[in-house]
Symmetry: C2
Subunit: 116 residues, 2 copies
Amino acid sequence: MVPMARAATTSDVFNAIAEPQRRQILVLLRAGERPVTELAQELGMTQPGASKHLRVLREVGLVRDRKAGKQRLYGLDARGLRPVHEWTGGFERFWNESFDRLDAYVQDLKQTRQEE
Amino acid sequence: MVPMARAATTSDVFNAIAEPQRRQILVLLRAGERPVTELAQELGMTQPGASKHLRVLREVGLVRDRKAGKQRLYGLDARGLRPVHEWTGGFERFWNESFDRLDAYVQDLKQTRQEE
DNA sequence: TTGACGTATGCCGATATCGGCATACGATGG
DNA sequence: CCATCGTATGCCGATATCGGCATACGTCAA
């Protein structure tokens, strides 16, 4: 039996956006297509570093590239973010409720302390 | 200079939900509080495995625990998911637009091929 | 073809991650 | 106090990740 370091899909959208720098890249790309060098410079990272992050983003489909002369322009394809948005949205009704629950929880704690 | 394996916060909410099993745990907890053993059994994982995932979820604040006699009940605190929902929501208007852009992109490809 | 520019890839070291297992910890009941 | 149940932690091996660096690749211009 061969141990795995990460279950199932080691490279899905959730994983891709777990990296802060990759999220920054996506944000920048909302303004339009950009070459790698420009992205790297704006984010204060090396060109190879930016290329690697873009590779991950491309493999999960969040980014696409097209040749523009000598350059290669990267553009946003945000459709892959929709499942993440919807998944988190499934917890929307708990955002308010959990405040109440937390209050109840705190009340329980107080009461427990008094009983001791 | 000490190299880092992951930039900045190695344990934020984005990272916590990057793990499929941890997402499953959160989904299960929507039905209410549960002890570790029950979660482990329902998800087909070992008890130590479940405990470790719950620890990560607790450290990022997505889950809280309270003692209930001999047991320890884990409950959902979904407030931390809100930033993720909002961040992805920032790309909402690109979900439809990217369809168009993709079409334009495909058109460009066809045209490029014809020109060659 | 050769050179220059833009970009991708390969290798490395340090570290983080995950599953599996054994075992320690903690609380309850007898 | 002692045993038992529920849970957490520690250690291990395999692998993934990230940054830095050098360098290969590809394209255009002269």
